[in-house]
C-alpha cells in the first residue's frame, strides 16, 4: 500500500469537511462580496501554495483511448498554466488574466480518476477527488449520461465541474446546473450546422432513414437532426432504435436497402458508430443509387477515434465536429504545436475541449480574484473570448453553453497522412447555431449550496 506525500493536507481537509457537515452547516456565511478571501467554501485552498484540479476520464471501458487523449490535454493545460512549456493557447487567448505563474499565485496540481464510463463509478471517483484529494474543480467525460451525473454532483458538493466531451442537448438543457459548464457543442448545433450543407450537397428532395442508439443521447440527436432535415423539405422514412452495443447491425441495415430512403443517418457514437458504419458500407449502401440519386450516409457527430476505428469506410461521409486540428487560426495552431511536440501526434477534439475548459476555469478564477465558486461562476457566465480555436466564443449565462463556430466535416477521400482523416467542409458561424435557451427548459439552480 503506497501513500502519496501530500496526504497530510488532504487528511486535514477531510476532517474539516467532515466536521462542517456533521454540524449540519455546510457553508456558514450568508453574504458575499467580491474578492471575499475569508469566504469559507468546500476545499478552499486558503493559504496553501497550490490548488488541485481533478481530471476524471474513462481509463477503462470502451472510451479508454479517448480518456487517455483527454488526460494528455489536461496535463498540458496544467503545464501551461504553471508557466512551463511553450504556453500553448495562453499566447493566443483574448482577453487573458493568467500570467503563467499558476492561478492567483498558486501552483496548479492535479489528481486523476477513472470514470469507467459509468455514472456510479464516475461519481465515486469524483467524490474521492473532492472529499479525499480536496480538488477545487474537476473536469472530464466521454458520455452524456456520465457528464450529467457528475454535473449534478457538482451542484450538490459546491465544486465546479467543467464538462469534457458531452454532446446531448440535456447537459445544458433539461439537466443544466449552476456548477456545470460545457464548452463542447451539442446535438441541436450539429443539426443546425449540418442543415445548410446537406441542402447544398444533397438537395431538398431527400428521404431519410434514421438508425438511432436507443438511449437519451441518441433520441435528442435524432430529434434535432429530424427537425433540421424536415425543415429542408426532406421526408423521414423511418427512425429505428437499435440496442446499445448491438455489435452486429445487419438486421437493422437490411430494411434500409429497399425502404425507398436515399439518406441513412446514423445517430450512433463510439463503438456503435464504428460498427454500424462499417457494416452499412459493407452492404453497399454508399455505392447505391436510389430515386435517381446517390445514396448518402450522414454521421452527425464525428470524432477522430471513431474515424480511426471505421478506417476507409468514412471516406466522403458528412458529419460535424467541435474542432479539428487542421484549423489554421492562431489558437488552434499554437495548441496543435505544443501538443504535437509533447506527444508526437495531433490532439483530438476531446483533447481540445478539455484543454480549453481547464484554461477557461483557471482564467475565470484569475479574473474573479478568488476561488470562491459563486464568484468564479459569475466570471464564466457571459464571458466572451477569442483565440481558443473556434473563433469568437460566448459562454452563455442562461445555460452555461458555449456558442462558437461549428465545423461541418467530411471523411477525407485522399488523406495525405494518417492523422488527416477529416476535411473541414465549412465553418458554420456561431450565429447560425444559436438558439433560445428556453426551448430546452431546465433550471440552473442557486449560486450558493
Amino acid at each position: 500500500m503506497t501513500k502519496s506525500n501530500d496526504s497530510g493536507v488532504s487528511r486535514r481537509s477531510i476532517l474539516k469537511a467532515g466536521t462542517a457537515l456533521g454540524a449540519g452547516a455546510v457553508i456558514a456565511p450568508t453574504f458575499f462580496v467580491r474578492n471575499a478571501w475569508a469566504e469559507e467554501f468546500r476545499n478552499n485552498p486558503g493559504n496553501a501554495s497550490s490548488v488541485k484540479f481533478g481530471f476524471n476520464v474513462p481509463q477503462t471501458g470502451a472510451y479508454a483511448d479517448e480518456g487517455a487523449d483527454e488526460l494528455r490535454a489536461y496535463e498540458l493545460a496544467v503545464k501551461h498554466i504553471n508557466g512551463e512549456g511553450d504556453g500553448g493557447m495562453l499566447n493566443t487567448m483574448q482577453p487573458l488574466m493568467l500570467k503563467g505563474d499558476g492561478v492567483l499565485g498558486k501552483k496548479v496540481e492535479y489528481v486523476t480518476g477513472d470514470t469507467q464510463t459509468k455514472s456510479d463509478a464516475a461519481r465515486a471517483s469524483a467524490k474521492r477527488m473532492i472529499e479525499k484529494d480536496g480538488v477545487i474543480m474537476y473536469s472530464g467525460g466521454s458520455s452524456s449520461g456520465v457528464a450529467i451525473a457528475q454535473q449534478s454532483l457538482a451542484q450538490e458538493m459546491g465544486v465546479v465541474f467543467m464538462n469534457g466531451l458531452t454532446h446531448s442537448n440535456d447537459t445544458t438543457g433539461k439537466d443544466k446546473r449552476r456548477y456545470g459548464f460545457r464548452h463542447f457543442f451539442n446535438a441541436y448545433m450539429s443539426g443546425a450546422a449540418l442543415g445548410p450543407v446537406l441542402k447544398e450537397t444533397m438537395g431538398t428532395d431527400r428521404r431519410a432513414y434514421h438508425l438511432t442508439a436507443d438511449y437519451t443521447w441518441g433520441w435528442t440527436q435524432e430529434e434535432s437532426i429530424k427537425n433540421t432535415t424536415e425543415g429542408l423539405g426532406w421526408e423521414t422514412v423511418n427512425a429505428v432504435r437499435t440496442p446499445l452495443g448491438a455489435g452486429d447491425f445487419s438486421q437493422y441495415i437490411t430494411p434500409v436497402l429497399n425502404s425507398g430512403a436515399d439518406v441513412l443517418i446514423l445517430n450512433h457514437y463510439g463503438k456503435d458508430m464504428i460498427n454500424s458504419l462499417t457494416q452499412a458500407v459493407q452492404f453497399g449502401l454508399r455505392d447505391k443509387q436510389v430515386n435517381g440519386k446517390d445514396f448518402q450516409i450522414v454521421v452527425p457527430l464525428y470524432s477522430r477515434l471513431m474515424a480511426q476505428g471505421a478506417g476507409a469506410n468514412i471516406k466522403g461521409i458528412y458529419g460535424t465536429t467541435n474542432w479539428n486540428w487542421s484549423l489554421q487560426d492562431a489558437g488552434s495552431q499554437a495548441f496543435v504545436k505544443s501538443f504535437g511536440q509533447e506527444y508526437g501526434f495531433p490532439p483530438s477534439q476531446a483533447a481540445h475541449t478539455c484543454y480549453v475548459q481547464t484554461i477557461l476555469y483557471a482564467d475565470a478564477c484569475a479574473r474573479a480574484g478568488t476561488f470562491y465558486p459563486p464568484e468564479v461562476i459569475k466570471a464564466l457566465e457571459g464571458f466572451e473570448f477569442d483565440g481558443m480555436g473556434n473563433g469568437k466564443t460566448l459562454y452563455r449565462a442562461e445555460d452555461h453553453q458555449c456558442f462558437k463556430d461549428v465545423l461541418v466535416v467530411r471523411g477525407n477521400e485522399n488523406a495525405t497522412s494518417q492523422f488527416d482523416l477529416l476535411e473541414v467542409v465549412q465553418e458554420v458561424p456561431a450565429s447560425q447555431v444559436t438558439y433560445d435557451p428556453s426551448i430546452f427548459g431546465g433550471e440552473l439552480g442557486p449560486y450558493k449550496v
Partner: protein, 338 residues
C-alpha cells in the same frame, strides 16, 4: 419476400458466429466437464491474430511529413509497399485471409497451454470454481490485450475484391434488389465448413470416436488402456482453434476491440443452455435458431407490436426453454441438473 430473405441471411450469419463459439464451449464441457468462461477471450484472441498479422504486414518506415509544419510528424509507409509496390499492397490487403494460416497453429498452442497450465488443475473442483477461475483469466487476457492494442476498435477490412455485395436476389429469382455482402456469405460458408469438419472428425475418425466414447464413459475408455486425458487436451486445443477462427473471420464484420469476447460470452452461454449442455448438435441448432429469431425480432413490424423485444429476445427464449424443457433442445436428460 425480399425482407424475409434478407433477415434470414442475417440470422444465419449471426447464428454462424454463435454456433461456432457455442460449439467450442460444448466440446470443452462435454469432454473435460469444464465450464469455460474464458471462451469469449479465445474468440477475441482469434480476432487479434488478424490485427497482429495486419500490424506485422504494415510495419512501416517513417518518412517526415512535410505537410505538417507545427511539429515533427511522420508518414508511415509499410516496408512491403516500399519494397514490392503493388504486390506488397496486395499482400497487406489480404491480411485477414493470411491470418487464418497464422491463427490455426497459434490458437492451438494457446489452447494447449491453457489446458495444461490452468484448466487441468480444475477438473476435480466444483463448477463454480471453474467458472470463477476462467472468468478471472478472461479479465486478465482482455486487459493485456487492451494494454497492448488500446481500447478503440481496429479496422481490419476484407480484401478489396470481395468488399462489395453479391446479387443474391438474382440467384433465387427475386430480382436485383436483394444484395448481400460477399464477406458475410463467405463467413456463413466458412462456419458451415468448420462445423461440418468438427462433426466429421468426431463422428467419422477413429480418434474422434474414442473421444466421444470418452465423453460418454470416461472410466471404461480409460480401462481399455487409452490415454483419454491426452486426447481431451488436444480436443481443448481444437475448441480454441474453432473459437479463434470464428474471431478471425468476424473481424471484417466487426472491427475488433479488447472487449468483444465478453460481449459474446453471455450470448454463447445462453446458446449452449438453449441447445442443451453437452450436446454438439444442440449448440449448432440453437446458435442458428437464436440468430434467426434475433434478426426477425428486430424488424420494425415486430417492434411496433412489442417495443424493446429485440433487446431481450435471446434471454426470453432462454427463460422459456429452461422452464419448459430444461435439458435444452437436443440435450440429454440429467446433464448438469443436480
Amino acid at each position: 419476400m425480399d425482407v424475409i430473405l434478407l433477415q434470414l441471411l442475417n440470422g444465419l450469419d449471426k447464428g454462424g458466429a454463435y454456433a461456432l463459439i457455442a460449439l467450442g464451449l460444448t466440446i470443452i464441457f462435454g469432454t473435460l466437464g469444464v465450464v469455460n468462461f474464458a471462451h469469449g477471450a479465445l474468440f477475441m484472441l482469434g480476432a487479434f491474430c488478424a490485427v497482429s498479422v495486419q500490424a506485422l504486414l504494415t510495419i512501416s518506415k517513417k518518412v517526415k511529413d512535410e505537410s505538417i509544419k507545427f511539429f515533427d510528424a511522420y508518414k508511415e509507409i509499410p516496408y512491403l509497399e516500399a519494397w514490392w509496390g503493388d504486390t506488397g499492397a496486395m499482400i497487406i490487403d489480404y491480411a485477414v485471409p493470411i491470418s487464418i494460416l497464422v491463427a490455426i497453429p497459434l490458437m492451438l498452442l494457446i489452447g494447449l497451454g491453457m489446458e495444461r497450465g490452468l484448466i487441468r488443475y480444475f477438473y476435480k473442483r466444483p463448477h463454480a470454481e471453474q467458472i470463477l477461475v476462467t472468468f478471472g483469466l478472461a479479465i486478465v487476457v482482455q486487459e493485456l490485450i487492451k494494454a497492448q492494442f488500446g481500447a478503440n476498435p481496429i479496422p481490419t477490412p476484407a480484401p478489396e475484391v470481395i468488399a462489395g455485395s453479391a446479387n443474391v436476389g438474382l440467384w433465387v429469382g427475386l430480382g436485383e434488389s436483394v444484395v448481400y455482402p460477399w464477406w458475410r456469405l463467405i463467413y456463413l460458408a466458412f462456419a458451415g465448413v468448420v462445423i461440418a469438419s468438427a462433426f466429421a472428425f468426431l463422428n467419422l475418425t477413429t480418434y474422434g470416436m474414442v473421444v466421444r466414447a470418452g465423453m460418454a464413459d470416461r472410466e471404461t475408455v480409460g480401462l481399455l488402456g487409452i490415454n483419454i486425458q491426452r486426447r481431451f487436451t488436444i480436443v481443448f486445443g481444437m475448441a480454441a482453434v474453432i473459437a479463434g477462427l470464428a474471431g478471425v473471420m468476424y473481424t471484417p464484420i466487426l472491427p475488433p476491440d479488447y472487449h468483444m469476447g465478453m460481449d459474446f460470452l453471455v450470448l454463447s452461454f445462453v446458446v449452449v443452455v438453449v441447445g442443451g449442455m453437452g450436446s454438439l448438435g444442440g449448440a449448432v441448432l440453437a446458435g442458428f435458431v437464436l440468430g434467426i429469431l434475433q434478426s426477425f425480432a428486430s424488424m420494425n413490424e415486430v417492434k411496433s407490436i412489442l417495443p424493446g423485444i429485440d433487446q431481450i429476445i435471446i434471454y426470453l427464449i432462454a427463460v422459456v426453454i429452461l422452464l419448459v424443457r430444461p435439458r435444452g433442445l437436443l440435450g440429454r436428460k440429467g446433464v448438469m441438473e443436480s
